[in-house]
């Protein structure tokens, strides 16, 4: 570990608490929650924990993104601040928060300020229904799956208002692109979700995970008796969640070579930071849904020692794949992107829907 001695001295008191605090927080929360049944304390604890989870994820996924990107490009990435640059996200956060929030001329100041929050808040709200473990979900509601999609649809409104409120032609073009992309990819994604609801018979995320108990052959990605196209459905779901979160190779909304930075061109400081927190929270939500629907959620692949650790392992593996894809494939064109959805993904998902319906009729569970 090569660290500047001054940096080492300044950061030494923070390293140990930081490394201990994360796991201790999760374990302590888990123990505490299993000991108290319901009530007001539970609501408050979950609200706090989910916000902290979203914030930590945003901070450390940026770090992971930079590391993954660097290693794919044969570089090292952040290494100066803390061991492996682990303190970098916190320092970046402080930097962003201390920056001035510039309000350009001619903007709609209210919408300009509200737009980043409209991206972040629905994503954090969606965490409420995600089952991290058997008893580790803030609210185990029957329509969890629907609720996540309901909140995800508000995200587009945030991008649109941000783009329009900036009074910048690049931002407006970017917002229009982001919406046409989101609308196009919502269709195959929702068709797959309908197929999954047909197979599972429930929109309760925890029940969906329960149905996949036992060895990994019971995961829905390998449930060939429901549809032989299950792995394809998983792949399409994953591609759609990439497109829904405006990630490369579908990041036409922020194509920096054409649109400077897209809808967040005019944002400075924490306005930009909140947009990014929202983006990473959405990635976490998308990968969580893929894990829950297809990869067995918190179920262990061998049938023993199931728990939240499996959920997190699968979640971060998928997130790593999202980053891997970003730094491997070049950006598509807008036409290629829309053609992929309307001409390839939607027909395949519709065929899968019909096939699953027929299979369910022939072999009812």
């Amino acid at each position: 570990m090569i660290l500047h001695p001054e940096t080492k001295k300044a950061l030494a008191p923070f390293v140990l608490p930081g490394l201990i605090a994360g796991p201790v927080l999760i374990v302590g929360l888990y123990l505490f929650l299993t000991s108290i049944p319901g009530g007001l304390a539970r609501v408050i604890i979950f609200c706090g924990a989910l916000i902290i989870f979203a914030a930590l994820n945003a901070a450390y996924l940026v770090w992971l993104e930079r590391k993954v990107c660097a290693h794919i490009q044969c570089r090292i990435g952040p290494k100066e601040v803390g061991p492996f640059g682990l303190i970098q996200p916190l320092v970046d956060g402080i930097k962003l928060m201390s920056k001035q929030l510039l309000l350009p001329k001619g903007i709609d100041p209210f919408l300009f300020k509200v737009a980043p929050l409209l991206v972040l808040v629905p994503a954090v709200m969606s965490f409420v229904t995600i089952p991290f473990g058997e008893h580790l979900a803030a609210r185990n509601i029957n329509i969890g799956l629907l609720m996540i999609f309901a909140f995800a649809s508000v995200n587009v409104l945030g991008l649109l208002l941000g783009g329009w409120g900036s009074a910048n032609k690049y931002a407006v073009i970017s917002a229009a692109r982001a919406v046409s992309q989101n609308v196009a990819y919502e269709i195959p994604m929702l068709i797959i979700v309908i197929t999954m609801i047909m197979v599972t018979g429930t929109m309760n995320l925890n029940e969906i995970v329960m149905q996949q108990s036992g060895w990994f052959g019971n995961w829905y990605i390998f449930r060939f008796t429901a549809s032989p196209l299950m792995p394809v459905a998983f792949l399409i779901f994953f591609v759609c969640s990439l497109a829904e979160t405006n990630r490369a190779p579908f990041d036409l909304g922020e194509a920096e070579s054409e649109l400077i930075a897209g809808f967040h061109t005019e944002y400075s400081g924490m306005g930009f930071g909140v947009f990014f927190m929202g983006e990473y929270a959405n990635i976490v939500i998308g990968c969580s849904l893929a894990t829950i629907l297809f990869l067995g959620g918190w179920q262990s692949p061998v049938g023993i020692a199931s728990g939240w650790w499996w959920f997190l392992l699968k979640l971060y593996t998928l997130i790593f794949c999202v980053m891997w894809v970003r730094w491997t494939y070049p950006r598509t064109t807008l036409w290629g992107l829309l053609n992929l959805s309307w001409k390839i993904l939607i027909p395949i998902t519709l065929f899968n829907l019909l096939l699953t319906g027929a299979m369910l009729k022939i072999w009812p569970h």
């Binding site: 007001l40 649809s153 587009v156 329009w164 429930t202």
Partner: protein
């Protein structure tokens, strides 16, 4: 009157907040001169209504309200405004005193009528939870009890699609 710190008291506070959000959203939607702001007000109002549905123990309706009205209708309106760009600098003329008084009067009359209807109607008591939001219950309701309404809505959507096609085609011929 239960204490504010209990779950029931907190639920009451949440109810008041939701009502306030709905009202404020409605006022913003009707009073702002900038269209995107009005749409944001509409979205806020609809989120408040979704909250009311959730408060009335209908999470399915609340989620659908968010998905369709906030996520689809409001986004479509903003998109249309962005494409049409109805001159942000053009200010619509203010209302005359007669117009203001008249609209207030009509509004008050309408509110009084609705309130009178609401208080005199014999509402069927919601003895049991209408719908637990499970796929089976929702499917059953859509395909039996509400099948006629469901079909009617699809006819409305069909009309909207045909109207959009007719507009788009005639526009193309002129150009």
């Amino acid at each position: 009157m239960s204490s504010l710190v209990s779950v029931e008291g907190l639920a009451g506070v949440v109810f008041l907040v939701v009502v306030a959000v709905t009202l404020i959203g409605g006022v913003i939607a009707t009073s702002s001169t900038r269209l995107p702001r009005a749409v944001s007000g509409l979205a806020l109002c609809l989120i408040g209504i979704a909250g009311l549905y959730y408060f009335l123990n209908s999470p399915f309706l609340a989620a659908m309200e968010m998905l369709i009205y906030v996520g689809a209708v409001c986004v479509t309106i903003v998109f249309a405004i962005m494409l049409a760009d109805p001159g942000a600098d053009k200010k619509p003329g203010g209302m005359t005193a007669v117009g203001t008084a008249g609209s207030l009067g009509v509004g008050a009359l309408f509110a009084w009528g609705l309130a009178a209807l609401g208080t005199t109607t014999m509402w069927p008591a919601a003895a049991v939870k209408v719908n637990d939001g499970s796929v089976k219950a929702v499917g059953h309701a859509l395909l039996t009890t509400y099948s006629f309404v469901f079909e009617l809505i699809s006819v409305v959507l069909l009309l909207a699609i045909i109207g959009a096609l007719a507009l788009a085609r005639s526009g193309r011929d002129k150009a």
